[in-house]
């Protein structure tokens, strides 16, 4: 599903944002990517979404390789990978339904199918009653649900989430996590970046990768207690 092979990413600073990272996320896995701020979590996700390209090494996602996928073709990858952000990134001035419908529209869904599918996706994330609400009228948790519904629009096999609960209170966080697990239970792999170790501990079944200063310092799959997913 995602394979990073000896990936290094360097920006203008001398020390790399990611250094010689390798890991393989299997289909249907739920994986936390943890680490302090600046450890390289977001960079890893951006590489997986091919928003950035590695300075060295190779990123393979859902059959697309960073070495062979041109910038003009990257939309094909993005339709197979959902992305959820900490700040939701919804289109302002549009309703919840329009935000989801938009993702269906731009990815070539037949016009007659758009509204019913958008409505169904909002139902899947528990927001059917708020379909016609403008996004600025929704709470943070609700906005994140709209963003998840939008990420699911193209029926991806992989969901990338960058601190998706970072702006939410405990109750909303629990709701979003429950939703992620439900989605994962349907067979979708989830790679979620978070610095919240308390949150990670609540889900011992998940795989945990920990980054520190751009290096992969822990992978629960390699440790004896991999199935319990304890962090280091």
């Amino acid at each position: 599903m995602i394979k990073l092979i000896e990936v290094t990413k360097t920006y203008s600073r001398p020390e790399p944002a990611l250094e010689n990272i390798s890991f393989h996320l299997e289909r249907g896995q739920f994986c936390f990517l943890t680490g302090h701020s600046g450890s390289g979590k977001s960079t890893a996700l951006r590489l997986a979404h091919m928003v950035e390209r590695p300075s060295a090494g190779e990123v393979r996602v859902s059959g697309f390789s960073s070495a062979r996928t041109s910038r003009r073709e990257v939309w094909k990858l993005r339709r197979r990978v959902g992305f959820v952000f900490q700040d939701f990134r919804l289109l302002p001035g549009r309703t919840a339904l329009e935000n989801v419908a938009f993702a269906l529209e731009v990815t070539g869904t037949a016009r007659k199918d758009i509204a019913p599918r958008a409505q169904r996706l909002l139902g899947q994330v528990g927001l059917a009653p708020k379909a016609s609400a403008a996004v600025h009228e929704l709470s943070g948790g609700e906005q994140q649900r709209v963003a998840i519904a939008r990420a699911l629009a193209s029926e991806p096999l992989l969901l990338l989430a960058d601190e998706p609960t970072g702006n939410l209170d405990d109750r909303a966080t629990r709701g979003i996590m429950k939703l992620f697990w439900e989605i994962n239970a349907l067979g979708m792999a989830v790679l979620m970046a978070t610095h919240d170790l308390e949150l990670v501990r609540q889900y011992p079944k998940a795989r945990v990768l920990e980054l520190d200063q751009g290096r992969l310092v822990y992978d629960s799959a390699d440790s004896a207690g991999a199935g319990e997913g304890s962090e280091g």
Binding site: V51, W75, K76, G93, A103, E105, V106, T107, S154
Partner: protein, 285 residues
Amino acid sequence: MFYTLREAIRNLRRTPLLTGLSASMIGLALFVVGLFALAAYNLQLALETLEERVEVVAYLRDNAGSYEIAAMTDALTNLPEVLSIDFVTKSEALLKARRELPEFRDILTDLEVNPLPASLEIQLRPGSRTRETVDRLARQAEAFPIVEDVQYGQEWVDKLFTLRRMGGVTTTVLGTAFAVVAALIIGTAVRIAIFARREEIKVMQLVGARDEFIRQPFLIEGVVTGALGGLLAVAMTYLTFRSVLQYLFTISWIPTQWAGIGVLAGVVFGLIASNLSVRKHLREI
């Protein structure tokens, strides 16, 4: 295509203030060009009126026979640059002198012998009223034996052509400068409007929209905003023209094609600016 049009109209309606501001900036930028075009066009008309007065006068010897005069008239009329030739007899010349030079009327009335020569007044076709043509025609006229002298107001013609050259250079330089400034302002206006929506462009990319799909509504918005700005500029220029005509002096309205070119310039600049700006944002991720 349906999506593109609907999305463009929806965006324009969703951000009426931004659309209005962009169109106004484009309108003001093109208005300056419009004012300049109005001034340049009227200067051109004034110069053309002056040029119509450019003529070559061949003064004839007193012994010129009517057959020779007719032959000379025929020969010159056949030249492509000659529009018409008027034969002015000696007595007509005297009458004209009395009319045009009232201060010498007494002297001219008491004459026993008419000292004024007969002449051929040669008018040139529009487009042939150049210094070179006038010179050449004067030499050709001078070559006829019945011609005493040829005059075409050399100094005046020289000044007129210098003025026309200066007008031409000034119009080109200033016109280009105004057009470049207008293009830069339009580019900035469109870029500001698109910059305000750069997040939207990113989101579209992140959900898997193709570049063309993202770009097309922006291009249509650029065209519409540019056309609105162009129309606004034409309207403002026309109002200025009406005001000058009513309160200051008589001027002519620019040809319709010029106004059309103004609106088209808004459309083209709007299209180019949106294309460049969207491409830049598309390349960011």
